[in-house]
Amino acid sequence: MEQRGADEALARLARDGDDAAFATLVERNQQRVFNFAYRLLGDYDEAADAAQHGFVQLYLSLPQLDLARPLRPWLYRIVRNRCIDVIRQRRTVSLSAAEDAEDDNGTALESRLPDADPLPEELAERADLQQLLSAAIHRLPAHYRDVVALRYTSDLSFAEVAEALGIPENTARIRFHRAKALLRTALRELM
């Protein structure tokens, strides 16, 4: 069971030169951070690079960070920004119409009526559930995708999600609930 403030305590030790404390901090958070990056990028290696970048930036920023505040929202923000850079770079070099149409799909999805009918139970039993959910998340508009990825991969509260994304808490809540309706629509279409 995680303790509130443990990450911040480890960060303080790391800031004072305790490298083992920083290693522990990485180990405690690596899986969630990596999964968050993977939800955004959909690529294993790129997600690993983005997650690693986040932790490196964390270490280099330790002297300036306010460790009286929660650490994770800051970390996720750094990783998210890195993921955005990766996605932008993809689009710069991409000649694929499918990737360029990603934004169009997201807009089109958002314009539909929200889907309130529950998902079929058999969906959860599908062997390709990982791919289905990844595909559904990637069909979301970017601002919904970020909230969903954070809520389903990290243990951040809505307040912390909002802080990580730089938006008001109510906006984070609203986007998350709207995103779930869009996910239902996307999952039905993908099944």
């Binding site: 069971m1 995680e2 303790q3 509130r4 490298d19 083992a20 920083f22 290693a23 522990t24 990485v26 180990e27 690596q30 899986q31 969630r32 990596f34 999964n35 993977y38 294993y44 690993a48 997650a51 690693q52 932790f55 490196v56 270490y59 280099l60 529950p118 998902l119 969906l123 959860a124 039993e125 559930l129 990982q130 959910l133 809520r151 389903y152 991969t153 243990d155 951040l156 509260s157 809505f158 307040a159 779930k180 996910l183 239902r184 999952l187």
Partner: protein
């Protein structure tokens, strides 16, 4: 998950992906998904990247000691040089070199003469300062860009 001292509304606010507190079908669907493990060697990769990225941190104290050793070597070298020339050591060495018979006939006296005029204190001082400088430079090299070590359980 509960955390000690956390307000009730915060606990409820956290997304508990467990069947008994799930809110809807989308939450339940995502809860079936096992998170991917972090890549093998991830922590080690982070630590190596940190070591490569962070600026070199040299101990001021050790650096000051190294500079002091260099200055000492210079000063002692200057004094030794003056003693070698002005004290007659070089002249004695030149004489012994040119007259090998004298060295072979009375080696004890030659050695005593050399011990008498050579700047041994300065020479020993230079040797000691060189040894200390070697140790200091090795320490500075080891600590300046040392990589943080992973814990025993690290990936």
């Amino acid at each position: 998950m509960e955390t000690p001292g956390e307000p009730q509304d915060r606990r409820e606010d956290r997304l508990e992906l467990q069947d008994d507190v799930l809110q809807d079908d989308v939450d339940r669907t995502f809860s079936r998904l096992a998170p991917l493990p972090a890549p093998h060697g991830f922590t080690t990769g982070v630590l190596l990247a940190v070591a490569a990225a962070r600026p070199v941190r040299l101990s001021v104290r050790w650096l000051t000691a190294a500079i002091a050793c260099v200055l000492a070597i210079g000063l002692l070298g200057f004094w030794a040089g003056q003693a070698l020339v002005g004290g007659g050591t070089l002249e004695l060495l030149a004489t012994l070199a040119s007259d090998a018979d004298a060295l072979g006939t009375t080696p004890g006296e030659a050695l005593l003469a050399l011990l008498d005029v050579a700047p041994w204190i300065e020479i020993l001082g230079i040797g000691g300062a060189l040894g200390a400088l070697t140790v200091l430079l090795r320490h500075l090299g080891d600590t300046g860009r040392g990589a943080p070590r992973a814990t025993a359980g690290g990936a």
